[in-house]
């Protein structure tokens, strides 16, 4: 039963991440995902400080806003201060992450029930410790599952109603603006959702490896299809596959579960890349041989 809940919770992490990661990959903004996942740390700490209950909406909201703030600072540095895009990303998220570390180790020590290891690496094996029990004794699953499910509901709904907007933003931002569409708002809307994903996922998979969940399945899916909706579905599928295979591999070899999931995800990506190459070569070979005969 423990296995079941861990896989189910991690699968939700994979789905949330894959959906938003697909848009990050298409917009060539993978590193923004990385930046946001680290930069939400001070937001998480502050939210913990003000709220006793770890699952409070306040925590989710506060930390999510930090992610939006991150992308605001990045845009300010690159557009107004004219610093190169990747440098402004590097400056912003390391600064915010450092502030978060100081908060945890310094003046908040003792006041906040949070430790850096948990934020960085997550504790997927321990998700079952924090149980949701109704009617006194009925166990209905780990708390992390419900937080993740809430995240899924919000993200799924936003992507569903905003699908056209996100598609247009990802393909041709200038054109969207020429239609009078407020692309800035759509951009921060997307960044807010990415931020939400990392916030609801950090306890499970950690701030470092959530990026793997965001980017790798989406990049794999892009190899498989040339339509947007199937790409989102493929990305979710690859994410879940990596979760399941990764989990049992980790249990078998007794190694880090999250590490194993991300590694499996990368192996799937490599396998698909090689298969695609071979398929293309075979096609080219067939074509040249028919050309010769013709």
């Amino acid at each position: 039963m423990n296995d079941f809940w861990i896989i189910l919770t991690a699968s939700l992490v994979a789905i949330n991440s894959a959906l938003l990661g697909s848009f990050l990959v298409l917009r060539k903004m993978s590193m923004i995902g990385d930046a946001i996942s680290h930069a939400v740390l001070p937001g998480i700490v502050v939210a913990y400080y003000f709220s006793e209950d770890k699952a409070s909406i306040f925590l989710l909201l506060g930390a999510t806003l930090t992610g939006v703030l991150t992308s605001l600072i990045i845009d300010f540095l690159s557009k107004k201060a004219k610093i190169q895009g990747d440098a402004s990303i590097g400056i912003t998220y390391t600064l915010l992450f450092a502030v978060g570390m100081i908060m945890i180790s310094g003046w908040m020590q003792g006041n906040v029930d949070i430790d850096l290891d948990c934020v960085l690496y997550g504790d997927i094996a321990l998700v079952n410790m924090d149980k949701v029990i109704v009617d006194g004794n009925l166990y209905v699953g780990p708390r992390a599952f419900y937080i993740e499910f809430l995240g899924f509901a919000i993200i799924g709904f936003c992507l569903w109603i905003g699908f056209k907007g996100f598609k247009l933003l990802s393909f041709n931002e200038d054109y969207a603006r020429s239609l009078g569409i407020a692309t800035g708002r759509w951009h921060y809307f997307l960044m807010g959702l990415v931020s939400l994903t990392t916030v609801v996922s950090f306890e499970v998979v950690g701030a470092v490896l959530v990026v793997g969940f965001l980017i790798i399945p989406a990049a794999t899916a892009q190899l498989m299809t040339d339509k947007l909706k199937p790409m989102l579905l493929y990305a979710c599928g690859f994410g879940i596959l990596a979760v399941i295979i990764g989990y049992f591999t980790a249990v078998y070899f007794d190694v880090s579960i999250t590490g194993s999931m991300v590694s499996v995800s990368t192996l799937i990506f490599l396998a698909i890349t090689v298969l695609k190459r071979r398929k293309r070569q075979t096609k080219a070979l067939l074509k040249s041989s028919t050309d010769l005969r013709g």
């Binding site: 298409l26 060539k28 004219k82 109603i161 905003g162 056209k164 907007g165 598609k167 247009l168 990802s170 393909f171 041709n172 200038d174 054109y175 969207a176 603006r177 020429s178 239609l179 009078g180 569409i181 407020a182 892009q222 299809t225 040339d226 339509k227 947007l228 199937p230 790409m231």
Partner: protein, 261 residues
Amino acid sequence: MKSSIEVHNLTTAYGGAPVLWDIDFQLPTGQIIGIIGPNGSGKTTLLKTIMGLLDPASGFVKVFDQPLDKVREKVAYVPQRESVDWDFPASVYDVVMMGRYRKYNLFKRTKDPDREIVLQSIEKVGLSEFKDRQISRLSGGQQQRVFVARALAQGADLYLMDEPFVGVDAATENSILNLLSEMKNEGKTVVIIHHDLQTVSDYFDYLLLLNTRLIARGTPAEVLTKENLTNAYGGQLTLLSKVVNLIKQNEFPIREKDSDV
């Protein structure tokens, strides 16, 4: 005379250096208008400033005698083909459908009349048999036609096209030229950034000659004088500077692309 685009004292700068300097003009309606000038003369910047994609340092733009926001429905923009990633997972139909997206219908479902208009636009550029094809599997000219079809789907009165004839095959060039005369007959105004001086007098009714400043405007006969061309292109028309330009392009191939984005 009713003007399609009116630009007053327009200056646009990247960083510190002005790319457009004190530009002033009015353009007629119902004509095919060409914007010409050497590389880096601010042609794309002018189009982007008119479309509100860049903020001018000073001056203002009016479209059909009104601020752009009031008449957006009547204006369609065709960006440079290289400005997007054609590996994006979308079909010809998907991209042309974006021409029907509006601020107020983004959250709504697509309606039947929209589908009809999209199919007609694809037909007009002769891509009907490719409508379900992924856009990376098209030739450069076909991709350009997808962009033109997307603008047609907007059903606008004024079309701003950034280099639609660059790197296209003869079929695409003819197809776009036919469309242009058709659009002109319907009273539409089309503004096109163009590179090839050889063809300007055949393609356009009206010309803007640009090199940071506005050098000349008027009919091709008025604009294409030796004096104007020397003012705009300077020594660039001589062989020597052509060679210098080639060397420059080879030295900074990536920068060259970036500066237009």
